[in-house]
């Protein structure tokens, strides 16, 4: 075996495999520390839960060259200003409902999940909710009875009734309002938001 050059030898590649793996793992860990900090709710890119007390716009940033969420003035959800704790509890209840009902096995959220139904990341801002004065009510109504309130836009595909309680439906709306304020680096591109008071 002495005729095997060093670069083809077993021991050289064993060492390389170990060093490469260790090195990449360390870089990943370092980046993870930074990312976890940045995506903590209330840091720069992921909003604090009280954002559900505010109006959320989705506007073009000419420097970044894509749209980004812009937090506006007070616009309390269901007419009630919430404390940071109350807001977190409500968003969390919505998230828990989304998991327990497995919404992500038909929909995508942040683009991940299933492809049977529309992406929900910006559902709060979807133009199909007509306008901001009726949006909250329409969303709750839809979630409570998606069969009767089906739209489909010409398709017969409907969302089934998942038997949410009214409280769960409202919490889901809070959760979706919060997700619409996450800075997703321009995803989905070219999205047309619903018309809102204070639009430019």
């Amino acid at each position: 075996m002495s005729n095997v050059p060093w670069w083809a030898s077993e021991s050289f590649w064993r060492k390389t495999a170990i060093w490469v793996t260790a090195g990449m793992t360390l870089v990943l860990i370092a980046l993870t520390f930074d990312t976890v900090k940045v995506i903590t709710a209330g840091h720069s890119r992921v909003p604090a839960y009280e954002v559900i007390n505010k109006r959320i716009y989705y506007r073009m940033n000419t420097k970044r060259k894509f749209q980004e969420p812009v937090i506006g003035e007070d616009a309390p959800l269901f007419g009630k200003m919430l404390s940071p704790e109350e807001a977190e509890a409500m968003v969390s209840h919505g998230k828990m409902t989304v998991q327990a009902k497995n919404c992500g096995s038909c929909h995508t959220l942040l683009g991940n999940g299933a492809y049977y139904a529309p992406d929900l990341t910006k559902a709060w801002l979807d133009p199909a909710w007509a306008g901001e004065s009726v949006r909250e009510t329409l969303m709750v109504q839809f979630l409570l009875d998606p069969t009767t309130n089906a739209r489909g836009f010409g398709s017969t595909r409907r969302m089934p009734n998942l038997h949410l309680t009214e409280e769960e439906a409202r919490a889901v709306v809070a959760f979706l309002k919060w997700t619409s304020a996450i800075d997703t680096t321009g995803f989905p591109r070219n999205f047309t938001p619903v018309a809102q008071e204070g639009d430019l």
Partner: protein, 485 residues
Amino acid sequence: MSTAKITGIAALDGGQRLAVKYFAVAIVLFGAQILFGLLAGFQYLSPDFLYGVVDFSVNRMVHINAMIVWMLFGFIGSIYWLIEDESGTEVVGLWLGNLAFWLFTIAVVIVVVVYLVIQTGPGQIESIWFINEGREYIEAPRWADVGIVVCLLIFFYNVAATFMKGRWSGIAGVLVLDLVAVAGMYLTGMFYSPNLSMDQFWWWWVIHLWVEATWEVLVGCIMAWGLIKTLGARRQIVTTWLYIEVALMLGSGILGLGHHYFWIGTPEYWLTVGGFFSALEPVPLVAMVVHAVYDSGVHRFKSPNHPALAWLIAHAFGNFFGAGVWGFMHTLPQVNIYTHGTQWSASHGHFAFFGAYATMNIAVFYIAAQRWRGNVNFGGGLVDNGWKWKWALGLLNGGVVGMTMALLVSGYDQVFIERALEGATWSGFFKAQQNVWYLQGMWWRQIFGYMTLAGFFLLVWDLMTIGVRETRPAVFPTEVAEHAA
């Protein structure tokens, strides 16, 4: 020459007896995966089918969960299959292994029954603990997560302790370290967070670091052993290749994780890191194709187990095309911003999981079947010319490649219409879903799905019958090669 061939359980060592149990459950779950995939696919074409009874979400969940579990069962079985041979000693805690097998299997049955009967729960933590977790691929409720971790730990103990007692090898070393990572990654998916970005950040540690890092290394180990067994490839060369593959795979795949961190609220440096490293991920997959083809060529495709060798080659190509090529096509952020979360992803997902992991498991099933039948010849000149395995190979691969192409057409249409033109709104989504070419893709996916099902039935039939009437003993190349070397 031996007179009577020893078949069935009597032909197996202890680890192998446990392995065939895992294989049996894996095959049943593979069937369940296809069945529920077809139900979900049919609901795209006829949305009222089982609406409100067994909804798309339920069928899809069973479809992909059955997949994850059957592949895990297949891998665990494969390792138990080779471990006594590789370590030169008996499995240390076989009874523990058996216990874990039954625990795991019973847990799977309970989980599936709850999925189908109870389906969903109220928006409370109890639902996540006992019904489903609502996160793709790892929907299994938390109690089952705990069970899975316990079973994986038992498995890890058995593997590590057995090699410790017997002899180590390069393959053994890689395998043991890799299993630590497989179990470790799973833990990162076991907590609740109200923060969706945080949730998905860690969720990808399980999904991506499993399929694009730890599982790749795991099948690399099985492949290495398989090439030695089916072709008689030289151990030293195979081990060196394994190290090269590990270096390239983990060198690109670990930071390649970043291709899932483009749009989920994570910082923008991931566009560069994820784009760059994931674009390198196909490199080791090319190397594996070269390796498999080269080895097969050097040994002139002489193998006493043609179906196993054919599936190993299918693995090399499927891994390269499904993961490498299909993955590369949408991995750059400039492309992914449009394709992210469309049928495009489904096209890649099907091709990659089948091409990389279903194939490898099926290859091991054939290696196992040969021993079970008393080490008879599975090479050329099988009694009925081996039509069953050949057709099963063709129908399964043809079916999945057909589904992949159909989904690709639908995916492109969806990307153009919903994403590029309509900006991904609710109405834009449905505009794409009703596009005539999109719909044709959905029909073809279903038709190729039936083809896949036919291949599955044939595969099961073949595994149950291949070599039963064969009497010529297999001539194993290992002995030839090692003695000649």
